[in-house]
Symmetry: C2
């Protein structure tokens, strides 16, 4: 940074430090639950829209431009052009890349509509509507039900509601439980199945800083990509076909290239995955003592296994890259999470809060007794289920680790469930789930390397043998003891050898064929992996039942507890994130990560160049260096920093799943894309600290700058509605 | 940092960001060379003193409160109380510590004068006067002299000047060459030989942050210590004796507890060790390509050897700690240096500067030819001496690595030199040097572990065998080849075995006895280490001669070159640091280390607590935690940050040797102690970047706060003159 620049920083700081009058707020609000007080606050902070312009049941609000693609995306043109993060589009680009044409490295740009290529495995769930169905769902709960019965009744009712709602076709519905069953919402999405890649910058822009900068500020990543949704010539959702035409969304977002400054109002919409802000202290302690240490150890080991394999085999390396990236991301997140939980002493804070609540409620002895009993029941519940939960976590990670095992478990389970009536089946194994399962069985092939998979399963099975007796996997112990080897390890080696040499699950065709077989036919195959899966299934069923009991009990206890809390705090508690559409508002704002350090709200192109070493992940593309050296910045100079803006910070409350969320200004115009949270507040999934919690966003002006000056994506720019 | 605090930061920043009108300046000025223009600048920046109040030949200026102790220290009471850095006093405290009473960990406080204990091996060189003796020195240079002859003549003249100056006794003199012989200065110091430890805080304050925070900002280290100088009852310098009395300095520094703010004028005096700002690009490239990579590799290996040894032997660990610390410091410094040189492309910058100079001088063809020839001669000189310099560096590090070898070389060399007349001897081996050599031969015992020393020598000798043929150590090759072993490695093992089993150099008494022996008697001992040293001596002599040739040539070429540069730049170039007394002025100021990050100028006690993990090096003492929790801050709250100040940044130009330098305000009052530079500008030894180069200082208010509130060192505080 040159001297002139630091002077400008000073001025920026001087001007805007006066303009931070309002405190931003945490909260991942359900769109139809934004009350007048909240709206007033938003208005005061800079919102210029009416509530109906954001969301209305007619489906013409800004919310209807928002798309669920696992993470979040949104429409930015009347012709179905979608904007999202580079890291959200990453797997699609990886899948169309070949050793000859590596689009990850080079980027991809379709200069005409004809050049757009399918994004394999990608689907877009366009938000259509939402509805509170709490009464309907809870109508089936009867007095005297056991927790398991309670769970089953609710689950069945939900399946019925979904079936009814999906009748009209082309839509996909989901009933989500809010705040552990305090409320239930029906969400309806239009499911678009033909998604194509339009424009993705090169890795060295879209992923600049890589793992090193991941979760970090200051950040300099051009984390954006453009896709397009297609439908059949009749305008209805359809599988990929050459005849398909671009989809015309009801709503799309306009883009503001006017720029931002510290203190500006910002609003995000998206699909935050999971937060745990309502957990009681006892449950939080479990996460701190078991969950994160387990996940950190396991992810570390898995990365090592995959990296060892990648070193020996370059072809494998390309295939495994995306898995390693995913695991590294989880690892760094979990490390930050654990550090944060410990450092902020959150368990202690929660305990104090719970104490204060009970203190408050003392004046009403009846209520006091009620809540003391709820607390003690909750604590007992977590205690009772501790071993089940641990075993469950282990199995989940093992299944995640070995795709082969995952295939086998799914195919085996499918053959069991399909014997039942559709409404009697487990969620996830109904007829409506078949296309998703098939797609996955196909697409997973791209990252499958049986030899690496074997190493991974070996790792988990070896660890399984060391589990404490209450968590032991009996099926495995039996299989090995039958083998009558000197040691379990020898038996394990032999077992693994057999699994991988004799199975046919490595072939896509065989997997799809097996999915079609009846239960009898499948078992007749004697595929060793299916047999192993079948042996495991009994334990999974048992755990599944335990899980349902657990959830049933939580859905009985937690809503009552939360109601008490709401009475105490005199507020309605927004529900924890659960992958459903949420809105949050905040403002553009830097922060102080530690004593004597201040982070500004925005980074600059000079900062990108400052980090450039020429080596991945800090290898600016030559095109960008040239533009920089020629000072070919067009209209993209931010007047406050006198530089091209790159990323900025907002106080918006977000978590995984919010990636790609549109960041909107007071007028509802797109000013950036959310793509990360900051390391210092990783634990915000548990506790939102307004001093430290920030979302990291790519400035839309950087998107436009890269598109225009570096990649000459004029056709894409032409399609956008840009307000200057 | 709580919200209230960050608000206060804001205000601080708002207020003081307006008050930075004047640019600070690089420069390590010789005290009698501060011209009127410079003085005017200092006045404008906030100096309120006259030039005489800082330095005058009568010896009553502030400069006469400044002491050379290897690093820098200063008098702060009329009774010889000295303040310096914790890390400067560290070795003394280590030497008085025992396993039972570990003063490093606990700190040391003498509550009365009787409780003050001797600081073994410590001496104080109190600055008395300085004198330009250039004409005298250069009077011996005659036309037609070879570079070697030139060097010898100057060296002899210097010895004569020193002998004359030291005649009056009790003083120690040094003639320093400024800017490669452009000027020569005679410095006279009063040499005080009885230094005692008065008050040193515990390691967890004085070294808080340890290696991790070393060279880093934000910093939270209470790097201070108090010593006292004693003299004989007659007021004259004397060796330690119970009868000795505190020394009364002519001048001592008053302390300002009024506090500082961004933009305030600051001035430092001290003994900066070495800078290389005048090197030509070719010489700089050598440092970048050879010197730092060599030193980084060697220091890394040495640390590994010492740490391996420390792990196996706890007693050894205590003895080796100080060496490991020293090496770690060098390592981190060199790594930062190399990173900085490469990142800033300094070689390229220098080349461009040299080109521009030649371009400028073109208008005078005669001058142009002169400087082209000087450049080419300089380049040739460096080229010619490359292998000698490399071998020299290797031998220097080997001697530094093995104390035993170092003893042997010194004792052997002493026996050679003492055969000559005093004036004919090598500098460092004259009669005046004997006390220093004896002291070292004694004190070194405290960190000597022959087994570890052997490992270290083995490492260097093994590496010596791999040196390229032009740098090979012939003495070693011969010794090994005589042994007629299958391999050199075997021979080396045998040789080392012999060296360490048969030598008597491990004993202090034996070493002192050997020093007394005549050349003949010494050789008769047949001590294998002395024999090895004697064999090496021939090569050292050759290199010494080469070195003198090299320096002689530099002293002929560089002053001419620098004179040209001065003409071009229309300024007098202050000389590179060389361990002589210098003055520099600047201001209190933060910096921006990278895009979107701003470092404030000051850190706080809350920041100390924020870093506290309970584990070394971030283990606050309980006493401090208690004071913090009780909010027992007395008068030490800084009004701008509303917290107890800890460390602050200034733009002062400093380097190793400046440690402990008094930081003075415009009135000449002590406001802090310099103790470090910042990592981002480590390369400032080569190039001063005003945007990034900062000195890190401990705020004197933190010293007073710790002394009063944590260590209750009321007796020390009483002795100080504190302006509130």
């Amino acid at each position: 940074m040159n001297f002139k620049k630091s002077l400008i920083w000073l001025i920026v700081f001087l001007i805007f430090s006066f303009c931070l009058p309002l405190k931003s707020d945490e909260g991942m609000y359900i769109l139809d639950k934004i009350d007048k007080a909240l709206f007033k606050k938003m208005k005061k902070m800079g919102l210029e829209l009416s509530s109906e312009e954001i969301y209305n049941p007619q489906g013409t609000g800004l919310a209807n431009a928002v798309i669920n693609m696992g993470a979040t995306a949104s429409f930015v043109s009347p012709n179905g052009l979608i904007i999202t993060n580079h890291h959200v589009a990453f797997r699609a680009v990886q899948r169309i890349s070949t050793p000859e044409k590596n689009y990850i490295e080079e980027g991809f740009l379709a200069r005409t509509i004809e050049e757009e290529v399918p994004a394999p495995g990608y689907q877009a769930y366009v938000f259509l509507s939402m509805k509170d169905v709490t009464k309907k769902v809870l109508s089936v709960v009867k007095k005297g039900m056991s927790d398991f019965e309670r769970y089953q009744a609710i689950e069945r009712k939900i399946k019925e509601i979904i079936k009814e709602a999906e009748k009209k076709g082309d839509v996909e519905c989901r009933v989500a439980s809010m705040n552990y069953g305090k409320q239930y919402y029906l969400f309806t999405y239009l499911k678009l199945k033909d998604i194509r890649i339009v424009y993705v910058p090169s890795r060295s822009i879209g992923e600049y800083g890589g793992d090193i900068d991941n979760w970090m500020w200051p950040r300099h990543t051009g984390d954006f990509a453009f896709l397009r949704a297609y439908v059949g010539p009749d305008g209805k959702p359809a599988e990929y076909s050459k005849k398909n035409v671009p989809y015309h969304p009801k709503t799309y977002l306009k883009i503001s290239a006017k720029g931002i400054k510290e203190g500006d109002f910002t609003m995000i919409m998206g699909f935050p995955g999971r937060t745990y802000r309502r957990l009681i202290s006892f449950a939080l302690k479990y996460d701190q003592d078991f969950r994160y240490p387990f996940q950190i150890r396991t992810a570390t080991d898995m990365i090592r296994i995959l990296e060892d394999f990648s070193k020996r085999d370059k072809n494998a390396a390309v295939k495994l890259l995306s898995r390693i990236k995913g695991l590294s991301n989880v690892l760094k997140n979990n490390q930050g999470m654990l550090e944060g939980l410990i450092k902020t002493k959150l368990v202690e804070k929660k305990k104090n809060e719970e104490k204060a609540f009970l203190e408050f409620i003392k004046k009403d002895p009846e209520l006091e007794n009620k809540y003391i009993s709820i607390f003690s029941e909750l604590k007992q519940l977590y205690k009772k289920h501790e071993n089940f939960r641990k075993k469950n976590t282990f199995l989940r990670w093992m299944t995640y680790g070995s795709q082969m095992l995952s295939f086998a478990l799914t195919i085996n389970k499918w053959s069991i469930e399909k014997q039942k009536k559709d409404m009697d089946r487990e969620p996830g194994y109904q007829k409506r789930d078949l296309p998703r399962i098939k797609l996955w069985l196909k697409v997973a092939q791209r990252s499958l390397i049986p030899e690496a998979d074997k190493k991974m399963l070996e790792y988990f099975l070896k660890r399984a043998l060391e589990l404490p007796s209450e968590q032991k996997i009996k099926a495995l112990e039996e299989i090995l003891s039958k083998r009558k080897k000197k040691s379990k390890k020898e038996a394990l080696t032999e077992f693994l050898e057999e699994l991988y040499s004799k199975t046919k699950l490595t072939s896509v065709e065989e997997r799809l064929r097996m999915l079609k077989l009846s239960r009898k036919e499948l078992l007749k195959l004697n595929d060793p992996f299916i047999e192993f899966a079948n042996a495991l299934e009994k334990e999974r069923e048992f755990l599944n039942r335990k899980n349902k009991e657990f959830s049933g009990a939580l859905s009985r206890l937690m809503p009552a507890y939360l109601k008490g809390l709401e009475g105490w705090k005199k507020t309605i508690l927004y529900p924890d994130a659960n992958g459903t559409l949420r809105l949050n508002f905040g403002q553009v704002k830097g922060y102080s990560p530690k004593d004597a350090v201040k982070y500004y709200y925005i980074t600059s192109l000079s900062g990108v160049i400052e980090k450039h070493t020429g080596e991945e992940p800090f290898d600016c593309p030559k095109k960008l260096l040239k533009v920089y050296n020629n000072e070919d910045f067009g209209e993209y100079i931010d007047k406050y920093i006198n530089d091209v803006p790159v990323n900025f910070l907002t106080t918006n409350d977000s978590t995984g799943g919010n990636s790609g969320s549109p960041v909107l200004n007071g007028k509802g115009e797109l000013i950036g894309l959310l793509f990360d949270g900051n390391y210092e507040a990783m634990y915000s999934d548990y506790y939102f600290d307004p001093k430290l919690t920030r979302s990291i966003n790519v400035d839309i002006r950087y998107v436009l700058f890269i598109a225009e000056k570096v990649d000459k994506a004029f056709n894409v720019l032409k399609e956008l509605t840009i307000i200057k």
